[in-house]
């Protein structure tokens, strides 16, 4: 997908609208999912996705291929989300019910009921993390970006990303061990 995205990007830089349409079809679901998980609202996620692509097209000429197109686009989405976040309430945690509904409706990595319960508990605990650590978890685990790509999107050093992920895993492990953590 990466090679295809880069070649499409090169064509789009020359003004090829069909390549740009292909880029949208290729990436908009991931960007929407990323923003949807962060913002927690369907309408906000759709608006943020539209703003992200709205910023990406004029800046397409500045994309030099130093990173992958997906990473570059996630960077724009990240800054778009930060701008939107500053205009929202300082702390609007993700409703746990939404994650419970998503976990029950979506495909689960575990087949048994115990596994689904653990997943629901885990995703709810992720939303209790502080904002910076939560964004790091979203990019690295949910969006499957590498450590270097996550660091580039967040504008951090790779070691900082590793430190934040370590903190997140410690928190999740400690809280998941509590018998009633997911009932809160």
């Amino acid at each position: 997908m990466s090679d295809s995205a880069e070649s499409l990007c090169q064509r789009a830089q020359t003004g090829d609208t069909d390549a740009a349409r292909a880029l949208v079809e290729l990436t908009y679901e991931r960007i929407h999912a990323y923003l949807r998980r962060l913002s927690g609202q369907d309408e906000d996620a759709a608006d943020l996705t539209q703003k992200t692509f709205g910023k990406a097209w004029p800046a397409l000429a500045t994309f030099g291929g130093r990173s992958s197109f997906t990473t570059w686009l996630h960077g724009i989405a990240h800054h778009t989300y930060l701008d939107w976040r500053r205009q929202q309430r300082p702390d609007a945690p993700q409703p746990e019910a939404w994650w419970l509904a998503q976990a029950s409706d979506g495909p689960s990595p575990l087949e048994d009921t115990m596994g689904r319960d653990l997943a629901r508990q885990l995703f709810g605990l992720v939303e209790q993390l502080d904002e910076e650590t939560r964004q790091t978890v979203h990019l690295h685990y949910y969006e499957e970006l590498s450590l270097a790509e996550t660091a580039e999107v967040l504008g951090l050093a790779t070691s900082t990303v590793k430190y934040r992920l370590r903190q997140a895993l410690d928190f999740l492990r400690s809280r998941a061990a509590e018998p009633k953590a997911f009932l809160r």
């Binding site: 999912a33 000429a61 653990l118």
Partner: protein, 303 residues
């Protein structure tokens, strides 16, 4: 639950289906810039991240540059001061000489404060002042003696008149009259010389008036006879006018071909200046007379 299990769960988040209309909106919003057009607004939107990343390094660089500039400026100032110090040290041997000169100037200045004279000049000045005071006292004494002499002469004249005898002539008055006549001769000689100089420059012809020869006269004083008390002697040519001339110019427009012709004459002292430049002091038997249109010294028919 260990980390591997947690990570495995986190890598499989619940999938999300975007709204159906989102794709159409995104496709409809595609606005690709024309190739070669700079992405201005997006650059600005990405600028904060750039500055946040590079601000520490840039600020440190600016700080170091500022420090370098300050150090360079201080170094240049230090070098300039060092050069100045060096020049002052080289000028130090002249300091003693300058101090001696300054002391000498101060002593001279102190002397000037006492009148601007050195001791020998001050002694000379005091000697002259004493001499002046002595002469002043002598002058007063002379004046008193002259007044006494005049009073005694008047008494003697009165006594002689009462006794029917003739008054004794004043020897001082005779000497003064002789001196004035000699001075008159001298004046006529200078006037004759000026007229002859003028004639030499003008085809040996004398000028028509005395003022034409004024360039040859040193001062207008010589045009007034010392014995002429009726005229005011002019001290310079600005004060001079015709009324100051005591002498008669008898041969205007004449020439030097007749050396015995009378050129000028003093009617007071009966002196006659001739065309050859000589001056004759005429006695009571002589006078200036006109013979054949020329003025000459002739015998007085009525001495």
């Amino acid at each position: 639950m260990n980390d591997a299990q947690i990570e495995a769960l986190l890598r499989h988040p619940p999938s999300l289906t975007p709204p159906a209309a989102l794709k159409a909106r995104l496709l409809n919003d595609i606005r690709l810039p024309r190739p070669g057009t700079p992405a201005g607004s997006t650059l600005l939107s990405l600028a904060p991240s750039f500055w946040r990343r590079w601000f520490p390094a840039l600020s440190l660089g600016v700080l170091l540059l500022g420090c370098f500039i300050v150090v360079a400026w201080q170094t240049s100032q230090g070098l300039a001061l060092r050069r100045e110090n060096q020049s002052l040290r080289t000028a130090l041997p002249d300091l003693d000489e300058l101090r001696a000169e300054q002391a000498q100037l101060k002593s001279r200045l102190a002397a000037a404060g006492q009148g601007g004279l050195d001791p020998t000049e001050r002694a000379e000045l005091s000697r002259l002042r004493e001499e002046s005071a002595r002469l002043t006292s002598r002058s007063a004494e002379v004046s008193a003696l002259a007044a006494e002499n005049k009073r005694l002469r008047a008494e003697m004249a009165a006594a002689l008149a009462k006794a029917g005898l003739e008054a004794e002539p004043d020897p001082f008055a005779d000497a003064q009259a002789r001196a004035q006549r000699v001075n008159c001769v001298n004046n006529l000689k200078q006037i004759g010389l000026a007229l002859r100089i003028w004639a030499t420059d003008n085809q040996d012809v004398f000028p028509m008036d005395l003022l034409s020869a004024s360039n040859g006269l040193v001062t207008p004083k010589i045009l007034t006879c010392a014995g002429d008390t009726a005229r005011v002697r002019a001290s310079n040519w600005q004060e001079f006018n015709g009324s100051s001339v005591s002498y008669e110019y008898l041969s205007p427009g004449g020439n030097e071909q007749d050396p015995q012709a009378v050129l000028t004459r003093c009617p007071i002292h009966n002196n006659a200046g001739l065309c050859d430049g000589s001056v004759q002091m005429l006695n009571t038997n002589q006078q200036v007379g006109r013979i054949e249109g020329k003025w000459r010294i002739v015998n007085n028919p009525n001495p």
